[in-house]
Structure formats: C-alpha cells, structure tokens
Homo-oligomer: 80 residues x 2
Amino acid sequence: MKARVYVTLKTGILDPQGKAIEGALKSLGIEGIASVRQGKVFDIEIAPTADRAGTEKLLAAAADKLLANTVIENYRVEIL
Amino acid sequence: MKARVYVTLKTGILDPQGKAIEGALKSLGIEGIASVRQGKVFDIEIAPTADRAGTEKLLAAAADKLLANTVIENYRVEIL
C-alpha cells in the first residue's frame, strides 16, 4: 500500500525559505508570482498486510512523532 | 489563482534522508513502514490576471530554473 503525507506550515507562520524563493524567481525574470510557501511531501510504502484504517493511524503517529513539527506545521495523510 | 508544484526524486536515485527517516521511525516503535522518500511541495499564489495555460508555463519555468534539480528530480504542476 502506498501513501503520501503532506507537511505544510500553518497559516500565519513566517516562511523565510518561501520569501527567498520569491526573490530568486524575480531575479530570474519570472514575474507574476505573488507568494511561495514551501512544504514537505513523504511518499511512504506500507507493508502489504496493513488495512486502510490501520495505515492512517500508523501515518498519523509517524507524522505526530517525527515527520511534522505540529507546533508550526499541519500534516495531511493521503492513502493512494 | 493558487497552484502547487510537487518536486520528488526520480526513481532509482538514492534518498539518504528517506533512509534516515525510516530508521528513526523504527526506533520510535512505528513498525510496518517499508520505505520513505522525501520530496518538496510549493504552494504558490499567482497574480490574478494570469490565465491557466500561462500559469502552467510560468510554473514550469520556475521549476526548471529554480524549484527542481531536473537532473535528479521530477516535478508536477497542479493548478488548484
């Protein structure tokens, strides 16, 4: 079973990396971009024996404990 | 207009970060995860005047020039 975990900054949290990318894109002559916010995506392969609900619980635990800093980041689990 | 650019490693490219995450999850007692590969996701806001086709071209240029290292990474543009 394949799944994807998206980790993005919570709204209102400053994203210096995103700001740097905005500036770099402008200097590369790429106009028309109002804002950029960077996040992480994890492509995860689960052992075949797992069921859907169990997988969602497993990945939520993985995100809570390691993949996301839940103080400043949100995460979303997607089973593919 | 909002869009998302996904940047992931090409298949066959070693992902040391993903390997480190696999190990860390095991040591945290999270079993059942066969593999982890980490990528980037960019949430981008485009100036309202842009049309869909123009936005796709703009973001492909941004990905080619900056967001992705196209030697080892693939990217996918998604208009939301």
